[in-house]
Amino acid sequence: MALQNEDKLEVGYSSLQPKPKKWVLLMLRLLAFFATAAATVVMGLNKETKTLVVATVGTTPIKATLTAKFQHTPAFVFFVIANGLASMHNLVMIMGDLFGQKLDYKGLRLAMIAILDMMTVALISGGASAAAFMAELGKNGNSHARWNSICDKYKTFCDHGGGALIASFAGLILMLIISVMSIIKLLIKPKPDSTTVVP
Protein backbone atom coordinates (compact mmCIF):
# COMPACT_ATOMS: atom_id res chain seq x y z
CA MET A 1 0.00 0.00 0.00
CA ALA A 2 2.77 2.41 0.98
CA LEU A 3 4.81 1.39 -2.09
CA GLN A 4 1.81 2.03 -4.33
CA ASN A 5 1.40 5.48 -2.83
CA GLU A 6 5.09 6.24 -3.41
CA ASP A 7 4.78 5.10 -7.03
CA LYS A 8 1.76 7.33 -7.54
CA LEU A 9 3.65 10.23 -6.00
CA GLU A 10 6.65 9.63 -8.29
CA VAL A 11 4.50 9.43 -11.42
CA GLY A 12 2.55 12.53 -10.40
CA TYR A 13 5.79 14.43 -9.79
CA SER A 14 7.41 13.39 -13.05
CA SER A 15 4.35 14.47 -15.03
CA LEU A 16 4.75 17.90 -13.45
CA GLN A 17 8.46 17.99 -14.46
CA PRO A 18 9.07 20.94 -16.79
CA LYS A 19 9.91 18.82 -19.83
CA PRO A 20 9.29 21.46 -22.55
CA LYS A 21 11.59 23.87 -20.64
CA LYS A 22 14.64 21.77 -21.45
CA TRP A 23 14.11 22.22 -25.19
CA VAL A 24 13.29 25.92 -24.81
CA LEU A 25 16.58 26.54 -23.01
CA LEU A 26 18.51 24.57 -25.62
CA MET A 27 16.89 26.48 -28.48
CA LEU A 28 17.63 29.80 -26.78
CA ARG A 29 21.28 28.79 -26.26
CA LEU A 30 21.53 27.83 -29.93
CA LEU A 31 20.11 31.18 -31.01
CA ALA A 32 22.43 33.06 -28.65
CA PHE A 33 25.38 31.06 -30.00
CA PHE A 34 24.49 31.98 -33.56
CA ALA A 35 23.98 35.66 -32.67
CA THR A 36 27.29 36.06 -30.83
CA ALA A 37 29.19 33.99 -33.39
CA ALA A 38 27.75 36.15 -36.19
CA ALA A 39 28.78 39.30 -34.32
CA THR A 40 32.32 37.96 -33.83
CA VAL A 41 32.75 36.90 -37.44
CA VAL A 42 31.25 40.03 -39.01
CA MET A 43 33.32 42.38 -36.86
CA GLY A 44 36.41 40.20 -37.11
CA LEU A 45 36.36 40.35 -40.90
CA ASN A 46 35.50 44.04 -40.94
CA LYS A 47 37.96 45.76 -43.22
CA GLU A 48 37.70 48.39 -45.88
CA THR A 49 40.36 49.75 -48.19
CA LYS A 50 40.12 53.04 -50.03
CA THR A 51 42.55 54.60 -52.45
CA LEU A 52 42.62 58.34 -52.43
CA VAL A 53 44.49 60.72 -54.64
CA VAL A 54 46.71 62.64 -52.27
CA ALA A 55 48.72 64.87 -54.58
CA THR A 56 49.50 65.35 -58.22
CA VAL A 57 53.12 65.49 -59.35
CA GLY A 58 53.20 66.75 -62.89
CA THR A 59 50.65 64.57 -64.64
CA THR A 60 50.80 61.45 -62.47
CA PRO A 61 48.49 61.41 -59.45
CA ILE A 62 49.94 59.96 -56.27
CA LYS A 63 47.54 57.55 -54.68
CA ALA A 64 47.50 56.58 -51.04
CA THR A 65 45.81 53.42 -49.85
CA LEU A 66 44.10 53.74 -46.50
CA THR A 67 42.56 50.82 -44.64
CA ALA A 68 40.02 50.83 -41.90
CA LYS A 69 40.37 47.70 -39.80
CA PHE A 70 38.69 46.68 -36.58
CA GLN A 71 42.09 46.27 -34.88
CA HIS A 72 42.66 50.03 -34.99
CA THR A 73 40.15 50.54 -32.19
CA PRO A 74 40.66 48.79 -28.83
CA ALA A 75 36.91 48.90 -28.19
CA PHE A 76 36.25 46.78 -31.28
CA VAL A 77 39.02 44.36 -30.31
CA PHE A 78 37.33 43.95 -26.91
CA PHE A 79 34.00 43.49 -28.73
CA VAL A 80 35.38 40.66 -30.88
CA ILE A 81 37.04 38.93 -27.92
CA ALA A 82 33.95 39.25 -25.69
CA ASN A 83 31.58 37.88 -28.31
CA GLY A 84 34.02 35.09 -29.17
CA LEU A 85 34.19 34.05 -25.52
CA ALA A 86 30.41 34.23 -25.23
CA SER A 87 29.88 31.98 -28.25
CA MET A 88 32.46 29.50 -26.86
CA HIS A 89 30.55 29.52 -23.56
CA ASN A 90 27.25 28.84 -25.32
CA LEU A 91 28.83 26.05 -27.37
CA VAL A 92 30.24 24.37 -24.26
CA MET A 93 26.88 24.70 -22.49
CA ILE A 94 25.03 23.18 -25.47
CA MET A 95 27.48 20.26 -25.60
CA GLY A 96 27.14 19.80 -21.85
CA ASP A 97 23.36 19.80 -22.12
CA LEU A 98 23.26 17.30 -24.96
CA PHE A 99 26.07 14.88 -24.11
CA GLY A 100 27.18 15.48 -20.55
CA GLN A 101 24.07 15.19 -18.41
CA LYS A 102 25.90 13.06 -15.87
CA LEU A 103 28.77 15.51 -15.33
CA ASP A 104 28.56 17.00 -11.89
CA TYR A 105 30.85 18.42 -9.22
CA LYS A 106 29.58 17.76 -5.70
CA GLY A 107 26.03 18.62 -6.77
CA LEU A 108 26.98 22.17 -7.82
CA ARG A 109 26.30 21.76 -11.56
CA LEU A 110 23.30 24.08 -11.69
CA ALA A 111 25.01 26.71 -9.52
CA MET A 112 28.08 26.70 -11.78
CA ILE A 113 25.93 27.04 -14.90
CA ALA A 114 24.00 29.95 -13.39
CA ILE A 115 27.15 31.81 -12.28
CA LEU A 116 28.89 31.27 -15.63
CA ASP A 117 25.80 32.54 -17.44
CA MET A 118 25.79 35.69 -15.33
CA MET A 119 29.49 36.26 -16.07
CA THR A 120 28.87 35.88 -19.79
CA VAL A 121 26.00 38.38 -19.68
CA ALA A 122 28.29 40.88 -17.96
CA LEU A 123 31.04 40.29 -20.55
CA ILE A 124 28.77 40.72 -23.57
CA SER A 125 27.18 43.85 -22.12
CA GLY A 126 30.59 45.43 -21.59
CA GLY A 127 31.83 44.62 -25.09
CA ALA A 128 28.63 45.63 -26.88
CA SER A 129 28.33 48.91 -24.99
CA ALA A 130 31.95 49.98 -25.61
CA ALA A 131 31.67 49.17 -29.31
CA ALA A 132 28.32 50.97 -29.55
CA PHE A 133 29.71 54.21 -28.16
CA MET A 134 32.82 54.01 -30.34
CA ALA A 135 30.58 53.44 -33.38
CA GLU A 136 28.48 56.47 -32.40
CA LEU A 137 31.68 58.51 -32.19
CA GLY A 138 32.78 57.29 -35.60
CA LYS A 139 29.39 58.08 -37.10
CA ASN A 140 28.75 61.48 -35.60
CA GLY A 141 32.20 62.69 -34.66
CA ASN A 142 32.70 65.03 -31.74
CA SER A 143 32.72 68.74 -32.44
CA HIS A 144 34.14 69.63 -29.01
CA ALA A 145 37.28 67.58 -29.48
CA ARG A 146 37.57 68.31 -33.21
CA TRP A 147 37.13 64.63 -34.14
CA ASN A 148 35.65 64.18 -37.59
CA SER A 149 33.23 61.42 -38.39
CA ILE A 150 34.67 58.64 -40.54
CA CYS A 151 31.48 56.95 -41.72
CA ASP A 152 31.06 59.08 -44.81
CA LYS A 153 34.45 57.89 -46.07
CA TYR A 154 34.24 54.25 -44.99
CA LYS A 155 30.61 53.41 -45.53
CA THR A 156 30.93 49.61 -45.77
CA PHE A 157 33.06 49.46 -42.62
CA CYS A 158 30.39 51.35 -40.71
CA ASP A 159 27.56 49.23 -42.14
CA HIS A 160 29.23 45.95 -41.22
CA GLY A 161 30.09 47.26 -37.78
CA GLY A 162 26.47 48.26 -37.27
CA GLY A 163 25.28 44.81 -38.29
CA ALA A 164 27.71 43.16 -35.88
CA LEU A 165 26.46 45.45 -33.09
CA ILE A 166 22.83 44.52 -33.75
CA ALA A 167 23.71 40.82 -33.65
CA SER A 168 25.58 41.32 -30.40
CA PHE A 169 22.69 43.16 -28.76
CA ALA A 170 20.31 40.40 -29.84
CA GLY A 171 22.74 37.90 -28.31
CA LEU A 172 22.82 39.98 -25.13
CA ILE A 173 19.02 39.92 -24.74
CA LEU A 174 18.95 36.16 -25.39
CA MET A 175 21.75 35.58 -22.88
CA LEU A 176 19.85 37.63 -20.30
CA ILE A 177 16.76 35.43 -20.75
CA ILE A 178 18.95 32.30 -20.56
CA SER A 179 20.62 33.56 -17.39
CA VAL A 180 17.26 34.22 -15.75
CA MET A 181 16.06 30.73 -16.72
CA SER A 182 19.23 29.14 -15.31
CA ILE A 183 18.79 31.00 -12.03
CA ILE A 184 15.13 29.92 -11.83
CA LYS A 185 16.19 26.33 -12.49
CA LEU A 186 18.69 26.64 -9.67
CA LEU A 187 16.19 28.01 -7.20
CA ILE A 188 13.17 25.75 -7.75
CA LYS A 189 14.98 22.44 -8.07
CA PRO A 190 13.66 20.26 -5.25
CA LYS A 191 16.59 19.86 -2.89
CA PRO A 192 15.45 17.04 -0.57
CA ASP A 193 14.57 13.96 -2.63
CA SER A 194 13.15 10.76 -1.18
CA THR A 195 16.51 8.97 -0.90
CA THR A 196 18.47 11.46 1.25
CA VAL A 197 18.21 11.22 4.99
CA VAL A 198 17.32 14.45 6.70
CA PRO A 199 19.49 14.79 9.84
Partner: protein, 162 residues
Protein backbone atom coordinates in the same frame (compact mmCIF):
# COMPACT_ATOMS: atom_id res chain seq x y z
CA UNK B 1 23.65 42.64 18.65
CA UNK B 2 24.34 42.78 14.92
CA UNK B 3 25.34 39.42 13.44
CA UNK B 4 28.73 39.39 11.68
CA UNK B 5 27.12 38.34 8.38
CA UNK B 6 24.79 41.32 8.49
CA UNK B 7 27.66 43.61 9.49
CA UNK B 8 29.81 42.46 6.57
CA UNK B 9 26.96 42.87 4.10
CA UNK B 10 26.17 46.34 5.46
CA UNK B 11 29.84 47.38 5.28
CA UNK B 12 30.13 46.21 1.66
CA UNK B 13 26.95 48.03 0.69
CA UNK B 14 28.17 51.20 2.36
CA UNK B 15 31.48 51.02 0.48
CA UNK B 16 29.60 50.46 -2.78
CA UNK B 17 27.30 53.42 -2.12
CA UNK B 18 30.25 55.63 -1.22
CA UNK B 19 32.27 54.80 -4.33
CA UNK B 20 29.33 55.22 -6.73
CA UNK B 21 28.62 58.61 -5.16
CA UNK B 22 32.30 59.55 -5.54
CA UNK B 23 32.28 58.48 -9.20
CA UNK B 24 29.19 60.57 -9.94
CA UNK B 25 30.54 63.64 -8.19
CA UNK B 26 34.00 63.40 -9.76
CA UNK B 27 32.64 63.00 -13.28
CA UNK B 28 29.92 65.63 -12.93
CA UNK B 29 32.23 68.34 -11.61
CA UNK B 30 34.96 67.80 -14.18
CA UNK B 31 35.34 70.74 -16.48
CA UNK B 32 38.31 72.74 -17.61
CA UNK B 33 39.00 75.53 -20.04
CA UNK B 34 41.72 74.87 -22.54
CA UNK B 35 43.06 76.31 -25.75
CA UNK B 36 43.15 74.20 -28.87
CA UNK B 37 45.15 75.83 -31.67
CA UNK B 38 44.35 79.36 -30.41
CA UNK B 39 40.66 78.51 -30.03
CA UNK B 40 39.56 78.44 -26.41
CA UNK B 41 36.92 75.95 -25.42
CA UNK B 42 35.72 74.23 -22.30
CA UNK B 43 35.88 70.49 -21.79
CA UNK B 44 32.91 69.18 -19.83
CA UNK B 45 31.50 65.74 -19.18
CA UNK B 46 28.46 66.59 -21.34
CA UNK B 47 30.65 66.71 -24.45
CA UNK B 48 30.42 62.95 -24.88
CA UNK B 49 27.28 60.82 -24.61
CA UNK B 50 29.42 58.10 -23.03
CA UNK B 51 30.26 60.26 -20.02
CA UNK B 52 26.63 61.37 -19.71
CA UNK B 53 25.60 57.68 -19.70
CA UNK B 54 28.24 57.03 -17.02
CA UNK B 55 26.87 59.78 -14.76
CA UNK B 56 23.24 58.72 -15.24
CA UNK B 57 23.94 55.00 -14.66
CA UNK B 58 26.02 55.58 -11.54
CA UNK B 59 23.48 58.09 -10.19
CA UNK B 60 20.72 55.48 -10.50
CA UNK B 61 22.85 52.90 -8.70
CA UNK B 62 23.75 55.44 -5.97
CA UNK B 63 20.06 56.03 -5.22
CA UNK B 64 19.42 52.26 -5.24
CA UNK B 65 22.36 51.65 -2.90
CA UNK B 66 21.14 54.33 -0.55
CA UNK B 67 17.65 52.79 -0.39
CA UNK B 68 18.95 49.26 0.18
CA UNK B 69 21.07 50.43 3.14
CA UNK B 70 17.88 50.96 5.11
CA UNK B 71 16.24 47.60 4.36
CA UNK B 72 15.56 45.58 7.54
CA UNK B 73 17.25 42.16 7.60
CA UNK B 74 14.27 39.84 7.72
CA UNK B 75 12.09 41.23 4.97
CA UNK B 76 11.28 39.17 1.82
CA UNK B 77 12.37 42.06 -0.43
CA UNK B 78 15.95 40.71 -0.17
CA UNK B 79 15.23 38.28 -3.03
CA UNK B 80 14.28 41.24 -5.22
CA UNK B 81 17.48 42.96 -4.09
CA UNK B 82 19.44 39.92 -5.28
CA UNK B 83 17.86 40.13 -8.75
CA UNK B 84 18.23 43.91 -8.92
CA UNK B 85 21.90 43.57 -7.94
CA UNK B 86 22.50 41.53 -11.08
CA UNK B 87 20.64 44.01 -13.29
CA UNK B 88 22.51 46.98 -11.85
CA UNK B 89 25.88 45.23 -12.19
CA UNK B 90 25.12 44.83 -15.89
CA UNK B 91 24.27 48.55 -16.12
CA UNK B 92 27.49 49.51 -14.32
CA UNK B 93 29.65 47.30 -16.53
CA UNK B 94 28.05 48.70 -19.66
CA UNK B 95 28.50 52.34 -18.62
CA UNK B 96 32.06 52.02 -17.38
CA UNK B 97 33.04 50.10 -20.49
CA UNK B 98 31.64 52.83 -22.73
CA UNK B 99 33.26 55.64 -20.71
CA UNK B 100 36.62 53.88 -20.78
CA UNK B 101 36.45 53.37 -24.56
CA UNK B 102 35.90 57.09 -25.14
CA UNK B 103 38.42 58.12 -22.48
CA UNK B 104 41.05 55.92 -24.13
CA UNK B 105 40.52 57.70 -27.45
CA UNK B 106 40.72 61.04 -25.67
CA UNK B 107 44.01 60.13 -24.01
CA UNK B 108 45.78 58.37 -26.87
CA UNK B 109 43.96 59.62 -29.91
CA UNK B 110 43.46 57.53 -33.01
CA UNK B 111 46.02 58.54 -35.66
CA UNK B 112 44.37 56.51 -38.41
CA UNK B 113 41.13 58.44 -38.10
CA UNK B 114 42.97 61.76 -37.62
CA UNK B 115 41.64 62.05 -34.08
CA UNK B 116 44.09 63.96 -31.94
CA UNK B 117 44.37 63.27 -28.20
CA UNK B 118 42.77 65.92 -26.06
CA UNK B 119 44.48 65.26 -22.74
CA UNK B 120 47.47 67.46 -23.52
CA UNK B 121 45.29 70.58 -23.57
CA UNK B 122 43.05 69.76 -20.59
CA UNK B 123 45.13 67.68 -18.11
CA UNK B 124 43.02 68.47 -15.04
CA UNK B 125 39.85 67.31 -16.79
CA UNK B 126 41.58 64.09 -17.84
CA UNK B 127 42.85 63.40 -14.32
CA UNK B 128 39.42 63.94 -12.82
CA UNK B 129 37.79 61.66 -15.36
CA UNK B 130 40.43 59.01 -14.59
CA UNK B 131 39.60 59.36 -10.90
CA UNK B 132 35.90 58.92 -11.62
CA UNK B 133 36.61 55.78 -13.64
CA UNK B 134 38.78 54.34 -10.87
CA UNK B 135 36.03 54.98 -8.30
CA UNK B 136 33.56 53.41 -10.70
CA UNK B 137 35.72 50.31 -10.99
CA UNK B 138 35.99 49.92 -7.23
CA UNK B 139 32.20 50.25 -6.97
CA UNK B 140 31.74 47.60 -9.65
CA UNK B 141 34.06 45.13 -7.94
CA UNK B 142 32.33 45.76 -4.61
CA UNK B 143 28.93 45.06 -6.17
CA UNK B 144 30.23 41.83 -7.72
CA UNK B 145 31.60 40.70 -4.33
CA UNK B 146 28.22 41.58 -2.79
CA UNK B 147 26.35 39.57 -5.41
CA UNK B 148 28.53 36.50 -4.94
CA UNK B 149 28.22 36.83 -1.16
CA UNK B 150 24.41 37.05 -1.37
CA UNK B 151 24.25 34.03 -3.68
CA UNK B 152 26.53 32.09 -1.32
CA UNK B 153 24.35 32.94 1.68
CA UNK B 154 21.20 32.07 -0.22
CA UNK B 155 22.53 28.74 -1.44
CA UNK B 156 24.23 27.81 1.84
CA UNK B 157 22.05 24.71 2.42
CA UNK B 158 23.08 23.47 -1.02
CA UNK B 159 26.76 24.04 -0.26
CA UNK B 160 26.54 22.28 3.08
CA UNK B 161 25.56 19.05 1.33
CA UNK B 162 28.74 19.15 -0.78
Amino acid sequence: MIKPKRLLSLLLRFIAFGTTLAAVILMATSHEKGTFFAVSYEAKYTDTPAFKYFVIAYAIVTVYGFLVLFLPPGSPIWRLVLALDLVFIMLLISSISAAMAIAQVGKNGNPRAAWLPVCGQVPKFCNQVTGALVAGFIALITYIILLLYSIYNFLNPLFEKA
